[in-house]
Symmetry: C2
Subunit: 131 residues, 2 copies
């Protein structure tokens, strides 16, 4: 799987890595049970430090995306990702609010906003299994 990082971006590297892996799972380029590179080889591949990779992995583990076996390595959660619960949905809404407030101020209509959301959903539903 191809990992794209933007070192100039203000977003921390380990967050970007986290998001790239989540996108990979969403697009089904990464499937349940599949292995991820070890912290060391992933770090070497993308040219960052081992600890930065580990930080991303620990967060993904915390969120139920992956399992980490002490010696076997890292695998995408075979049981799939935990489904969105109430707390998750509340946090999601809280996260979306600033973007929507901003859009309202800038006269970007609800229709257009939702059109963008739909187009992003389509990205994930259509690119299933592609490289």
């Amino acid at each position: 799987m191809l990992i794209q990082l933007d070192l100039e971006n203000a977003e921390p590297i380990y967050i970007q890595l986290q998001q790239q892996i989540i996108e990979g799972i969403a697009k089904k380029q990464l499937n349940p049970g599949e292995s991820l590179p070890s912290v060391r080889s992933m770090a070497a591949d993308i040219g960052i430090n081992l600890h930065t990779v580990n930080k991303a992995y620990q967060h993904l583990k915390q969120d139920g995306y992956i399992l980490i076996h002490r010696q076997k390595g890292v695998v995408i959660n075979p049981d799939g990702v935990p489904k969105a619960d109430g707390a998750y949905k509340e946090k999601l809404k809280a996260n979306l609010r600033p973007f929507i407030a901003d859009s309202v101020c800038r006269d970007l209509s609800e229709e257009e906003f939702i059109k963008y959301c739909s187009s992003i959903f389509a990205e994930f539903y259509n690119e299933e299994g592609d490289s």
Copy 2:
């Protein structure tokens, strides 16, 4: 206008303040031409440092939300907020992508996601002018 800050939140204070003001504008509790408290009185009101308020104001100015006159003080942009342009829309889509990828993984449907967006839009359209 009531400003609500959560000092425990990881979100920087100046960002929270910025968002609160933007929400105020979206809800039309704050209208074009209206004055905002000086950096000093705002800082005293909400119990933070003058520079933290100034940082929020500078960002709002940069984004076209407010005008700052050297001695007259701070006012909501009388001409209204600049409308969303192409660059803004691209950035918005890039910002939404991680949330949507996450939702897809967690089996949260496009319909439900959009329902949340609509409910937030409704918050702003319905509470116009309320305290």
